[in-house]
């Protein structure tokens, strides 16, 4: 990260030294080579007015605090995929219509393509990469997919998993019809809906037994 960049975008009340210290202390500095957005060479063009949001923020993702440099107009899906390397979250439409980008924000399923990253500071974000246990044991809902060979191309799968895990937190023992309503914000273009529901019902059952 270029020094010029940090001073240019660091609010006046934070000295550059403190800023650097903060970055070092947080351990994992995320590359600021913004893939889709202004890269470091062009930071000067990003407007920054007094009182506006600070770009360097801490996000809690999958139980870890991650320091990350976030542009003002950046969506959570972009941050996850292009800054934090969490490419399990997919972009299917980028218009809050298909659900492929669904992640949990404080346990609530949200379309991460249509959430400004700056609005979820201090919230707990869980992506598909955060479902399995540290030892690799799959989440019961993931296991449901394995048990039933759910999904086809699976581009929609991580979104469906997150929508299901989120919905089951509010209704752990749904009927098939209730679950279908609960995860109806997700599109599958292979339209394997029947098998998806079977897999997710199996997942719900696994979860109740776990």
């Amino acid at each position: 990260m270029e020094e010029k960049t940090m001073t240019a975008d660091t609010p006046n009340r934070v000295s550059r030294r403190n800023f650097i210290k903060g970055v070092i202390a947080s351990g994992a500095v995320v590359s600021s080579a913004g893939y889709l957005w202004r890269s470091s060479a062009l930071f000067g063009q990003q407007p920054s007015a007094p009182g506006s949001v600070e770009r360097l923020i801490t996000l809690n993702v999958n139980g870890q605090d991650r320091r990350v440099d976030v542009l003002k107009q950046e969506t959570l899906a972009t941050t996850l995929r292009y800054k934090l390397g969490l490419t399990g979250t997919k972009l299917g439409c980028d218009r809050s219509e298909c659900g492929a980008c669904t992640v949990l924000v404080d346990d609530v399923p949200r379309y991460s393509c249509s959430v400004l990253t700056h609005t979820v500071r201090g919230k707990k974000i869980v992506t598909v990469e955060g479902l399995a246990a540290a030892d690799g044991t799959l989440h019961p809902v993931q296991q449901g997919v394995i048990d039933e060979q759910g999904f086809q191309c699976a581009f929609c799968m991580s979104g469906f998993l997150m929508a299901t895990v989120g919905y089951l937190k509010t209704n752990p023992n749904p009927t098939r019809a209730e679950l279908a309503h609960g995860i109806s914000g997700n599109l599958c273009r292979c339209q394997d809906y029947d098998k998806i529901l079977t897999a997710m019902m199996r997942g719900a059952e696994n979860l109740r037994k776990a």
């Binding site: 913004g34 893939y35 889709l36 957005w37 202004r38 890269s39 060479a41 062009l42 995929r81 969490l86 490419t87 399990g88 979250t89 997919k90 972009l91 299917g92 439409c93 980028d94 218009r95 219509e97 298909c98 492929a100 992506t127 598909v128 990469e129 479902l131 399995a132 799959l138 993931q142 997919v145 394995i146 039933e148 060979q149 999904f151 086809q152 191309c153 699976a154 581009f155 929609c156 799968m157 991580s158 998993l161 019809a177 279908a180 309503h181 995860i183 109806s184 997700n186 599109l187 599958c188 273009r189 292979c190 339209q191 394997d192 809906y193 029947d194 098998k195 998806i196 529901l197």
Partner: protein, 838 residues
């Protein structure tokens, strides 16, 4: 393969854990050092010429690395296809970038920059001027006397060719097809006069035409003659993963990360589009987010990041947005058909006179129009038939094959007519389909070749599917309650039949049994959700007696020594590649027996292979496969792949050569005899409930019974049957394109405009079954099943609606609530009958 250990069993595919954990990498998930981004400038006009282009301001934007225009593309090149035919370059065919856009949304140029915001801002600085040209977005508008042409040269392709054969058809091998050319054609005033009455006018001299039997006699002998017009929708494939691509060059090789349905064959597509030797193309496609025919060998748009990468000397990621996908992501041609059908009093079709007009989009002629005739001839076995058709060029996005291309439209054109005839003749809907069903090696399509012989299928068990379905669906019980009102609700039941191609032949299988006792299978099949990428190879594993847990499948990267493999289009794969897997398996079995005989005495035929061993029949001496694999290396020659069969494809040869010496190689080409054409069949059943006060309807129940041959992987087959049924149901209930005819631009560009079905639009209950009768002309008995459920799903629902409400509600699909409500109000269909894209 008397007793199956793997075939017919469910299992966990080797890609599934990566998919559920988010580790599976689709094209947009790859990163490369120094990767930059491309954005497209799209044509705002449906047809225009770029008259001025000034890139200077864009190039001056800091961070812009390169701009690619049409002038940077290689000229369209001739190609040699799988059959050794020379395919002359189509000089008016599709190009990835253009200075004469022929549809709104066609890419004109691409900017590569350090990030997308910079690329987008640079595009807005480009000075571009267009000269608008005549355009048309409705095929009938183009065919009308004096109507506009979509292309400067005309409105259809003249393809001087033998009569159209169905895909995978036998004739024509080695004959080089002539170069297609664009010409103009219009209805005469007299012909077109019928359009004002909402009937599709019939063109006497249509460019696509064939016939067989005595049509006049067929109509003369008919107890009932129906003359109907029907219009099917244009629909986008709308794969959930758009055709995003990342590409870079390294030491004169190009590495392309893309979604594709067919990993191995995409090498040739890239080679042809980019103008680079196939040996210098590496395709990486580990996971593909859906294809449905739109990514058979990737997509032509992949040349943009490939060439930009060369120009900018950096890896380029081109993320394709959902709206861009509407333009460049392919769609199914809508077909309007005029069907005059004669029925005997028993319901048998005595004559079918069919005229189809398809909306072809601006580029290469699609097979859909011709297939409406071919598929109708197979599905209903008319005693006499004439087909005429024209694929009309329009200034709408390029079409491509979409699951059951032409076959789905054939079902949608014909099934409502059959249903109406059954009502008029007082025949049960299942019975009328049974009496017209193909049986055994049924003929279809036009007479072809010097002897004017019609093609025929390997087998057809449609009657069995109908019987099984009627029993499972409790058809008679449901029929009894259909049409009965309950408050504002009324129910109806529908049945429909459907067919399509389901297999090709002649590809290669390749694997190695290594001294660790494991089977290493090479798969050139694309991984786009059908599971055939691993399913097919279970045939090899079963033949050589290796449990699936000891099989490793390598797929998704053409640098990893893959065999020559069919295109995964038209449901070829499970048929073609189980045959290839069988050939490789038999090759390995033969080698194992020979090694055993060499080491343990006796003749090879005294040995059998099972349970990870090769041993004397009846349980005598033997050796483990691990040991045999080591012996194969010791023996060399053909055993470990240092000598290869003469007839394998050069692509396979290169891969096998690279793998030689690592163990016992199973390699072989599918030379199994195959007489008929492989076709699968589906009978679909649906029950709907319609609210006559709103026109809204729900699908209560759906069942599909498939004649698919031997089932290799039940859950995958079930997923295909119900998933593709849903694809068809989408066409019945709401999916469509919307164009403003005056401006020629798309209005429906978003999911909520095009309306692909959601989970709550799916039938409340869905079921599938198979007739479980193997295909008699393929060693494993398996055929593909990706296509025919589409038409069955669409038409079972359409027929259920008319069962509930009568024949005078709809004359086009999708059937939306406005159509139902206004028809019920007026007592006749009131929705504009012929206008495209409303």
């Amino acid at each position: 393969m008397a007793e199956h250990k793997l075939v017919g069993q469910n299992y966990t595919t080797p890609d599934l854990v990566a998919k559920v954990t988010g580790k599976a990498k689709y094209a947009e998930d790859f990163r490369a050092e120094g990767m930059i981004f491309a954005k497209l400038l799209l044509s705002p006009l449906p047809h225009a010429r770029v008259t001025r282009l000034d890139l200077s301001a864009a190039l001056a934007v800091p961070g812009v690395k390169a701009i690619l225009t049409a002038d940077d593309l290689p000229a369209a090149a001739d190609a040699v296809n799988d059959n050794g035919q020379l395919i002359l370059a189509n000089l008016d065919g599709e190009v990835a970038l253009t200075n004469e856009p022929v549809y709104q949304g066609q890419p004109i140029l691409a900017v590569a920059a350090v990030d997308e915001v910079t690329a987008a801002d640079a595009i807005e600085k480009i000075q571009i001027e267009f000269q608008p040209l005549p355009f048309v977005v409705d095929p009938l508008e183009s065919l009308r006397p004096g109507g506009p042409n979509a292309r400067t040269k005309g409105n259809y392709w003249n393809i001087p060719a033998p009569a159209p054969a169905a895909q995978g058809g036998g004739g024509g091998r080695g004959q080089n097809p002539p170069r297609p050319e664009i010409r103009g054609l219009k209805f005469t005033d007299a012909e077109f006069a019928e359009a004002k009455d909402g009937r599709l006018p019939v063109m006497r001299e249509a460019p696509e035409k064939w016939s067989y039997g005595d049509l006049d006699a067929g109509f003369k002998n008919a107890a009932l003659v129906l003359d109907e017009t029907f219009v099917t929708p244009d629909t986008s494939h709308q794969t959930l993963e758009t055709r995003t691509v990342m590409a870079y060059w390294q030491n004169s090789k190009v590495y392309v990360y893309t979604g594709t349905q067919s990993t191995a064959q995409t090498v040739l597509g890239v080679s042809r589009w980019v103008g680079v030797d196939p040996a210098n193309v590496v395709v990486i496609s580990e996971y593909t987010g859906g294809g449905f025919g739109s990514k058979i060998t990737g997509a032509i748009s992949l040349v943009i990041p490939v060439l930009l990468s060369k120009k900018a000397n950096a890896p380029v990621m081109m993320r394709v947005s959902r709206e861009e996908e509407h333009y460049i992501g392919r769609g199914r041609p809508g077909v309007r058909g005029r069907m005059k059908v004669g029925f005997s009093k028993e319901g048998r079709i005595t004559a079918l006179d069919m005229f189809s007009v398809s909306d072809n989009g601006p580029f290469e002629r699609q097979g859909d129009c011709g297939n409406t005739g071919v598929i109708s001839s197979l599905m209903y076995q008319p005693l006499a038939m004439r087909f005429r058709g024209i694929s009309v060029l329009t200034n709408t996005p390029p079409r491509g094959p979409q699951s059951q291309p032409g076959g789905m439209q054939a079902a949608a054109l014909m099934e409502p007519v059959i249903a109406k005839a059954a009502r008029k003749l007082g025949i049960d809907q299942v019975a009328i389909r049974r009496i017209n069903a193909p049986v055994g090696k049924a003929s279809f399509g036009p007479p072809a070749g010097p002897k004017a012989v019609r093609q025929y299928v390997t087998s057809a068990f449609v009657q069995e599917a109908l019987e099984k379905g009627a029993a499972l669906f409790k058809w008679d019980e449901r029929k009894a309650r259909s049409g009965k009102r309950n408050g504002s609700k009324v129910r109806g039941v529908g049945v429909a039949v459907s067919t399509y191609s389901a297999g090709s032949v002649g590809y290669d299988g390749l694997f190695v049994i290594k001294p660790d006792g494991r089977l290493y299978v090479q798969s050139g099949i694309g991984n786009h959700g059908t599971a055939s990428v691993s399913d097919c190879h279970r045939v090899s594993a079963e033949l050589v007696g290796v449990p699936w847990e000891k099989c490793e499948v390598t797929w998704g990267n053409t640098a990893k020594n893959l065999p020559w493999t069919c295109n995964s289009g038209g449901s070829q794969t499970i048929h073609a590649m189980t045959r290839a897997a069988h050939a490789a398996g038999m090759d390995a079995t033969k080698k194992l027996r020979e090694i055993a005989a060499k080491d343990l005495g006796g003749r090879p035929e005294d040995y059998e292979v099972a349970n990870e061993r090769v041993f004397r029949k009846g349980g005598g001496a033997g050796m483990s496969l691990a040991k045999a694999a080591q012996r194969a290396i010791d023996l060399g020659g053909a055993y470990d792949g240092h000598e290869l069969p003469k007839d394998i494809n050069k692509f396979t040869r290169a891969s096998a050569t690279a793998l030689a010496g690592q163990g016992l190689m199973g390699v072989g080409k599918d030379n199994y005899p195959h007489d008929g054409q492989s076709r699968s069949f589906v009978a679909g059943f649906a029950e709907v409930e319609i609210d006559v006060e709103t026109g809204k309807f729900h699908i209560l129940d759906y069942l599909a019974v498939a004649d698919v041959g031997t089932v290799i992987h039940p859950r995958a087959v079930g997923g295909q049957i119900l998933g593709r049924s849903m694809l068809g149901i989408g066409h019945a209930i709401g999916q469509k394109w919307v164009y403003d005819q005056h401006y020629g631009v798309a209005l429906a560009k978003r999911f909520h405009h095009n309306r692909p079905p959601t989970i709550l639009d799916a039938p409340a209950r869905m079921q599938w079954a198979t007739v479980d009768l193997p295909d008699p002309e393929t060693p494993v008995g398996a055929r593909g099943i990706g296509e025919p459920p589409v038409g069955a799903g669409c038409c079972a629902v359409l027929n259920a609606i008319s069962d509930a409400l009568g024949d005078d509600v709809f004359r086009r699909a999708p059937v939306t609530l406005d159509m139902i409500l206004t028809a019920l109000e007026a007592g006749r269909p009131t929705t504009e009958p012929l206008t495209a894209h409303i």
